[in-house]
C-alpha cells in the first residue's frame, strides 16, 4: 500500500510516494509551467520513475495550488503547506523546534513544541524575501540557479545589498557589479540580504534549536550559511528537503485514510482539462468565476464572493 503526496507550489510541483510504514519510496521535483500540464506530466514521469509500480491507497495535496489540483488529481486529503511541512519535517527530525522554509513566492517560519505546531509566521504583504527573487536575479546574470550558492561561498569581500525590497535589491546588486565588485561577492550579499529580510519576520520568540531549513532554497549552500550565521546556530537540512511538503501531504493521507481513494491514476493525460472563466452578472461585485472543465463539464468552480458558484 502506498500513499501519494503532491505539493503544488508557485514555482515548483513536488511529488512523494511513501509506503504504509512512512518510508519514502521516491520523490520528484518539477518546475511549475502551468498547473494542468505540470501535474499531468509530473504524474506520468513519476510513474515511469517508480520501477516497482505503486498501489495508491490515498492522496494528499498541499501548496498554494492545492485547491485546484485536488480535483485534477482526485486527492483525498487537502491540508495547508504549513501543516504538511511540519508533518514531513517531524518525520525526520522529531525534536525540531523551529522550521525555516523559504519557498518560491512565500517564506515561512513554523514553531513547534513536543511535535505540535504552536505558531507560524508567513511573509505578509510582499513576497520579497522568497526564492523566486534569487531565481530571477540568477536568470538576469545568466548563471544557473543551482550554481548561485556555490559561487557565493567563494566571495572575497563583504558586500551589503539593500534587502527590504527586491526591486531595490536588484538595482543595488547591479550597481555593485558595475562598481567593480566580483559576481561572487554580490551573490553572497544578496543571499545575506534575503535571509536578513526573511528573519525580520521573527521580531521575537525564537526557541532553542534544533532548527531545520527546507524548501528548494535549502539546496543553496550560501543561504544555509547566511541563515546559520545570522541565527548563530546550526540548521539541519533534512533528507528530501525540497519535497518535505509533499511527504507531509502523503503522511497526512496515510493518517486520514479514505475508505476508497478518489485518485484518478497516474495517466491523467487521458483526461481533457481546460479552464473557462466568466464574469458573474448577478450583482455589482462582478466576480470572475474560474471553472475547471473535464470533457466539457465543470468539475470545480471558484471565485464567487457570495459562494453560490463555488464547488
Amino acid at each position: 500500500m502506498h500513499y501519494l503526496g503532491v505539493d503544488v507550489g508557485s514555482v515548483s510541483v513536488k511529488f512523494a510516494l511513501i509506503d504504509e510504514k512512512k518510508n519514502v519510496v521516491d520523490t520528484l521535483y518539477m518546475r511549475n509551467h502551468g498547473v494542468i500540464p505540470t501535474v499531468k506530466k509530473g504524474l506520468a514521469d513519476f510513474q515511469a520513475q517508480l520501477s516497482n509500480g505503486a498501489k495508491v491507497s490515498g492522496v494528499g495535496v498541499t501548496g498554494s495550488g492545492a485547491g485546484f489540483s485536488k480535483v485534477l488529481i482526485g486527492a483525498d486529503v487537502h491540508k495547508t503547506e504549513i501543516l504538511a511541512h511540519a508533518i514531513g519535517t517531524l518525520h525526520f527530525v522529531p525534536k525540531v523546534s523551529v522550521i525555516f522554509e523559504i519557498g518560491g513566492e512565500d517564506s515561512k517560519v513554523i514553531f513547534l513544541r513536543d511535535g505540535i505546531i504552536t505558531g507560524f509566521e508567513m511573509n505578509r504583504i510582499c513576497s520579497g524575501g522568497a526564492g523566486a527573487f534569487l531565481d530571477s536575479l540568477a536568470g538576469r546574470l545568466d548563471i544557473p540557479i543551482s550554481e548561485v550558492g556555490r559561487l557565493a561561498l567563494h566571495r572575497e569581500n563583504e558586500v551589503n545589498i539593500a534587502s527590504r525590497c527586491t526591486v531595490f535589491a536588484t538595482t543595488d546588486a547591479i550597481h555593485k557589479l558595475n562598481t567593480g565588485y566580483k559576481l561572487e561577492d554580490v551573490l553572497m550579499g544578496v543571499c545575506n540580504g534575503l535571509v536578513r529580510n526573511y528573519l525580520a519576520m521573527l521580531y521575537r520568540k525564537v526557541s532553542p534549536p534544533p532548527y531545520t531549513f527546507q524548501g528548494a532554497t535549502s539546496k543553496n549552500v550560501a543561504l544555509k550559511h547566511a541563515l546559520e550565521q545570522q541565527l548563530g546556530a546550526e540548521v539541519i537540512v533534512p533528507p528530501h528537503a525540497p519535497c518535505l511538503g509533499a511527504i507531509g501531504a502523503a503522511i497526512l493521507a496515510l493518517e486520514n485514510p479514505p475508505q476508497q481513494t478518489q485518485f484518478k491514476g497516474f495517466e491523467l493525460a487521458k483526461f481533457d482539462y481546460h479552464i473557462s472563466s466568466f464574469v458573474c452578472p448577478d450583482c455589482e461585485n462582478h466576480c470572475e468565476i474560474t471553472q475547471i472543465m473535464q470533457s466539457g463539464e465543470p468539475i470545480a468552480s471558484n471565485g464567487s464572493r457570495c459562494g453560490k458558484l463555488n464547488f
Binding site: 491540508k79 495547508t80 501543516l83 504552536t118 505558531g119 508567513m122 462582478h286
Partner: protein, 295 residues
C-alpha cells in the same frame, strides 16, 4: 432632507446612533450598502494613498452616496473618553472629503470629543432647524439606541461563550472585522470551519489601568482581560495595512495572549489581499488549534 450616512468607520461602532438621531428629526436617512466592488474601486481611486483601507473606504461610500442625497454626514471623532484619542485620520475625514469631492457635494459636519455626542447633536439639530423638544427627544432616543445595541452585543457574547464549539476571538477595529467584503469574509470562513467567532467589540470591559491612550488600544486590552479568562482556543488579530494605531496595539495584544498560552495570529489586510493567502493562514491556524487540543 435626504441625509447620506456612509457605512464605514464609526458606523460599525454604533450603527443605530446616527440613523436614529436623523430619523427622529424627520430626515430621510440614506445608508450606503455594505462595501462592494464598485465602492472598493472608488475608495482606491479617491482615497489618498497613505491611508489605511478603512479610511479609503469612507471615500468609496461617500462616492456612492454623492448623487443619492442632499447632504452627507461626516463626523470628526476626536476620542471616546476624556484623555483618550481616536485615530488622527478620523479627524481629517470631513475636510479631506470636502477637498476630494469639491463644492458639489455637501457635508454635514459634527465633532465628537471625549465621547460626548450631545453637543454635536444639538448643533446639528439647530442647523436642521429642529424644535427644542423634538431635538431633545432625538438625542435621548439616539443615545438609547446606541446603548441597546451594546447590550445586544453583550448578550450575543454570553450566548457564544456557552457554545460547544471551539471559540476564536477576532480582535480588530469594528470597521475592519465587520466589513466582510474588505476582510474577505473572515468571520464566515471561521464559522464554515466549525469555529465560534467572537468579535472583540461584543466583549464587555473589565476595568484596567493602562497607559495606552488610543481608544482602540485601551478598549481592546480591557476586553481581553475579560474574554481570555474563558475557554478560548485562539485569537486572530485583524489589521489593515498601514494602521498606525495597530502598530502600537498589536504587540500588546500578542503579549497578553501569550501570557495565557493561547495561539495568536496576526493577519494584515489590504485592498489587494488575495483570498488564497488568507485561507492558507486560517486553515493552518484552525489545524494548529486542533493539534493542540488533541495533543
Amino acid at each position: 432632507m435626504k441625509i447620506g450616512i456612509p457605512r464605514s468607520l464609526y458606523y460599525y461602532k454604533h450603527p443605530r446612533l446616527w440613523t436614529t438621531f436623523f430619523s427622529q428629526l424627520d430626515q430621510e436617512v440614506v445608508l450606503s450598502p455594505p462595501t462592494n466592488r464598485p465602492i472598493l474601486e472608488a475608495a482606491v481611486r479617491y482615497g489618498e494613498d497613505e491611508s489605511c483601507l478603512a479610511v479609503k473606504l469612507v471615500f468609496g461610500h461617500i462616492w456612492y452616496l454623492a448623487d443619492k442625497c442632499d447632504e452627507i454626514f461626516a463626523p470628526a471623532y476626536y476620542g471616546l473618553e476624556p484623555d483618550r484619542h481616536s485615530c488622527p485620520k478620523f479627524l481629517g475625514v470631513p475636510d479631506i472629503s470636502k477637498s476630494i469631492f469639491g463644492p458639489d457635494v455637501r457635508f454635514l459636519r459634527c465633532e465628537v470629543d471625549d465621547g460626548m455626542f450631545e453637543p454635536g447633536m444639538l448643533e446639528l439639530g439647530r442647523a436642521l432647524s429642529a424644535n427644542g423638544r423634538t431635538l431633545q427627544r432625538a438625542v435621548s432616543e439616539a443615545l438609547m439606541a446606541r446603548k441597546r445595541y451594546k447590550q445586544e452585543l453583550h448578550e450575543g457574547y454570553r450566548r457564544q461563550l456557552s457554545s460547544e464549539k471551539a471559540k476564536i476571538v477576532v480582535v480588530g477595529h469594528h470597521y475592519v472585522i465587520h466589513d466582510s467584503y474588505a476582510n474577505l469574509s473572515l468571520l464566515a470562513k471561521l464559522e464554515e470551519r466549525g469555529m465560534e467567532a467572537i468579535t472583540i467589540d461584543s466583549v464587555p470591559f473589565t476595568p484596567i489601568e493602562s497607559f495606552l491612550r488610543w481608544d482602540f488600544a485601551f478598549e481592546t486590552m480591557a476586553q481581553l482581560e475579560e474574554v481570555l479568562n474563558h475557554d478560548i482556543a485562539g485569537v486572530i488579530v485583524l489589521s489593515n495595512f498601514n494602521c498606525g494605531v495597530d502598530a502600537i496595539t498589536v504587540p500588546f495584544v500578542e503579549d497578553k495572549v501569550e501570557q495565557y498560552d493561547i495561539p495568536c495570529m496576526h493577519l494584515i489586510l489590504d485592498e489587494h489581499t488575495g483570498e488564497a493567502g488568507l485561507i492558507t493562514r486560517v486553515d493552518t491556524f484552525v489545524d494548529t488549534m486542533k493539534m493542540r487540543r488533541v495533543g
